[in-house]
């Protein structure tokens, strides 16, 4: 009899199950609009040209040592990654109150941030401190914070299905009603899964309430550069909060904007009141990292650090990022045009108003089921599509299928 005999089978993660079903589908016109990874117009994964270049440089560099990285990570990666988020001339950086921890992707950054906050944020036991995540949010947010020991994870109103946009009133209302010192997880840009971001003016209102209520800002920044094509524009919300005097965490992922999904390159940027606080925070984070993965992996961080710190490579990278962002913007524009041309009922402005990889189409679960079963077009039950799955070859088929779904399935 096994000690683990009664362990139940865990439900598969929806997005991976979708991909698995897609892979098994034999239909030649099948389309995968599920997983969040960039694809070219040939529907292939894309190794950024600058990445290929730097990879070769690293492999040919015989002077590199193979030792463990420092526990907090590669110093030149950490500082350059934080500069990307906060801006080269960020006053907080000049004040020596910005630090960072190299982590295993965005997930790892959220993990370390969560583990720290549970231990040291507001008193020494934050298991009961409420964590607020947007409704809806990335499906793993809940699990990361819950596993870090937070018992009270609540939604804040975000997506208004009726008007297919941001429910700002609801959002601000929930913030106003949150217990003081609650922790709020904010998507820096290109909200996942809705693609709907607050405007600058709306961010100002959000920051105002958070300041009044002493709410802690924990930014999740997985798409910087990828959303608008412009790094600074995509980091506006984070920089605004810093300018308003917030102490904050920002979990950065370089999976999408460097196409380095498989090397797990992330950075947890910490903005503290002063250098003394920063040092104490980092010292505790070092301890947390030591008992989680001990030292982070070197390959991806080296690659990003070399790219960000070498002017010609940095320029090439920004160009590569713009290529990806532009293709997504093109697909958005074209999908909207085609739906309008087909006369598909409803408004489709949200397709171009939304930003980043994802779009909340507004399709209901029955319509989604129709798309998958009858048209072999795979999307999430929420109606979320990955714009990167659209290509010049399949966009007509997808537009026609959406039209059919909306007009024949209620």
């Amino acid at each position: 009899m096994s000690i683990f005999g009664e362990v139940p089978l865990a439900a598969p993660v929806a997005v991976f199950k979708l991909s698995a079903d897609f892979r098994e589908d034999q239909c030649p016109s099948k389309v995968n609009l599920g997983v969040g990874a960039y694809r070219t117009d040939e529907c292939q994964p894309w190794v950024l040209p600058v990445v290929r270049k730097v990879e070769k440089m690293i492999a040919d560099d015989h002077s590199l040592n193979h030792e463990y990285l420092p526990i907090l990570g590669l110093p030149e990666f950490r500082s350059s990654a934080s500069k990307i988020a906060l801006g080269e001339d960020s006053p907080a950086i000049k004040d020596n109150r910005v630090g960072a921890v190299q982590c295993l992707g965005g997930t790892g950054a959220l993990k370390i941030g969560a583990e720290f906050l549970r231990r040291w944020y507001n008193g020494t036991d934050n298991t009961k401190t409420p964590i607020y995540v947007s409704a809806p949010t990335w499906e793993n947010h809940n699990a990361v914070f819950s596993n870090a020991g937070f018992e009270d994870i609540r939604p804040y109103k975000y997506w208004d299905a009726g008007k297919r946009g941001l429910d700002l009133t609801g959002f601000l209302g929930d913030l106003e009603n949150a217990p003081d010192h609650s922790i709020i997880v904010l998507h820096a840009c290109a909200h996942n899964p809705t693609g709907t971001d607050p405007t600058q003016d709306q961010w100002k209102q959000i920051a105002d309430v958070m300041k009044q209520k002493n709410l802690f800002a924990f930014f999740d920044s997985a798409y910087q550069g990828f959303a608008s094509g412009n790094l600074d524009k995509d980091a506006w919300s984070i920089r605004y909060f810093v300018s308003q005097g917030f102490e904050l965490f920002c979990a950065q992922s370089f999976s999408k904007n460097f196409g380095l999904y498989n090397e797990r390159v992330g950075n947890l940027t910490v903005v503290a009141k002063d250098q003394d606080n920063l040092n104490r925070v980092l010292s505790q984070m070092e301890k947390i990292v030591r008992i989680t993965w001990s030292n982070p992996p070197s390959q991806g961080a080296r690659l990003v650090a070399i790219t960000l710190n070498t002017p010609e490579l940095f320029a090439e990278w920004k160009d590569n990022v713009k290529t990806m962002a532009d293709r997504v913007l093109l697909m958005r524009a074209q999908l909207k045009e085609k739906l309008k041309a087909l006369g598909t009922p409803g408004t489709w402005e949200h397709i171009t108003e939304q930003i980043g990889m994802f779009s909340f189409t507004g399709l209901n679960p029955k319509q989604v089921e129709f798309m998958i079963k009858e048209k072999h077009i795979y999307l999430m039950a929420s109606g979320r599509i990955n714009m990167c799955g659209l290509t010049s070859k399949n966009i007509d088929y997808v537009a026609e299928s959406i039209h059919e779904a909306v007009t024949t399935v209620q």
């Binding site: 865990a10 001990s294 390959q299």
Partner: protein, 409 residues
């Protein structure tokens, strides 16, 4: 905005790396770092097999490599090879399909994932909190990992004996026999850190018997398979013995030392079960997503490439044997020097264990003396990494240890 910080309550934590940082700052020309975690070659630096470098270059120029998210549990070819390495290709557990492996972020990641699995699922508990038994001595971080996973009741069993400078099996067996039934016991299959002290096969048979009698669950650590004795099979004998007895177990493996891939964090958690393998595997997937989502590819790709290719395999094994032999040679030379210097005591404990570590059983003052006065940095109890001893510093190290053991401090 208020002028106080939300982090005011965070106290400063001195770094575990303080010893290494002190070494780096030390300007004494004869300084020696014997407290490092990596294998260093005769030149004092970490090394790579030329084979590893070649494969990394191949990977960097391979146009077919997919940059997308890997499977949550890692590269299947990697976990397959890592499992076979530990258990042997024909292991009944593999044949009966009751084993799964997870590619993890180093050995630490493997231990952390194992701890999380135990916490959530051991003994049908949704919140198992121990007891778990660790060998004494061991790294503080091991205790930290289990506690961070929520396993509060961490205890120790006697393992290394300061008087005899080796494992005292009697004490160990006694402590295991008196442990509550169903405890989890952490055991070093080989390459105990920090002492290097190992159990003989006869000792293992005794220990395994007690484990079965008391229904204790083995969580084996294997950080340098092939580097301790020079034989892959010998270093994993304990794991295979447990499996042959029908025990369920977890085994955390590291590929850092054996491939020189410290920076790439290549680890593996092996789970051998009696049944219900798919369910446990699905729960492991769920836990991985809360830790790091999916593992980094570079290092595991290198390892999988080498382990799947017969010619590479041979070259790799030869490289490892060379490392094991160098470590043994250093130990013998150290023993010789100490014998010649004429200090009291036997020195067999230096050469008996293989691998990276050995222990001199020094007290705190002696260790302090070596660090402060002789600029020789070593771990508590006088444990040290033998690979950092080379022809340039051997005499100095031997004389200093001799001095530490024979002066009135």
């Amino acid at each position: 905005m208020s002028t106080s910080s939300v982090f005011d309550g965070a106290v400063f934590m001195p770094s575990e790396m303080k010893l290494i940082e002190d070494f780096k700052r030390d300007t004494h020309p004869d300084k020696v770092n014997l407290a490092g975690r990596e294998y260093v070659g005769e030149h004092g630096h970490t090394t790579w097999l030329p084979l590893v470098r070649k494969i990394k270059q191949q990977i960097a120029t391979d146009p077919t490599i997919n940059p997308e998210y890997p499977p949550i549990l890692g590269i299947p070819e990697f976990t397959r090879r890592a499992t076979e390495l530990a258990l042997g290709k024909d292991s009944p557990a593999i044949v009966e399909n009751r084993v799964f492996g997870v590619q993890t972020v180093g050995c630490t990641g493997a231990v952390r994932l194992g701890a999380e699995l135990l916490k959530s699922w051991y003994c049908s508990s949704s919140s198992w909190s121990g007891p778990i038994l660790l060998p004494s001595p061991c790294d503080d971080s091991l205790t930290g990992i289990f506690k961070a996973a929520g396993i509060e009741d961490v205890r120790h069993y006697r393992y290394w004996d300061a008087k005899s400078n080796e494992v005292c099996v009697e004490n160990m067996v006694h402590d295991l026999e008196n442990a509550p039934e169903r405890c989890v016991v952490v055991l070093f299959a080989s390459g105990h850190r920090p002492t290097g002290a190992n159990l003989s096969q006869e000792d293992w048979k005794r220990v395994a018997e007690v484990m079965m009698k008391r229904r204790l669950f083995p969580f084996l650590l294997m950080s340098a398979q092939g580097l301790c004795s020079g034989s892959l099979e010998q270093d994993t004998w304990a794991v295979r013995h447990c499996v042959s007895l029908g025990l369920e177990l977890l085994c955390a493996q590291s590929f850092s030392h054996s491939f020189g891939l410290y920076g790439e964090r290549v680890g593996h958690l092996l789970c051998v079960l009696k049944q219900n393998m798919l369910a446990m595997q699905s729960q492991a997937e769920k836990l991985v997503q809360t830790l790091w989502s999916c593992p980094p590819m570079e290092g595991a790709r290198v390892v999988a490439t080498i382990l799947s290719n017969p010619a590479h395999l041979v070259e790799w094994q030869e490289g490892m044997k060379a490392i094991a032999e160098r470590c043994m040679l250093i130990r013998e030379r150290l023993r010789e020097r100490l014998r010649i210097l004429g200090g009291p005591g036997r020195w067999d404990h230096i050469i008996k264990p293989g691998g990276l570590y050995c222990c001199f059983g020094l007290n705190a003052q002696q260790v302090e003396f070596l660090i402060q006065r002789k600029h020789i940095y070593l771990l508590p109890n006088g444990c040290l990494n033998v690979s950092a001893i080379n022809s340039r510093n051997l005499d100095y190290v031997a004389e200093s240890i001799h001095q530490a053991m024979n002066s009135r401090l």
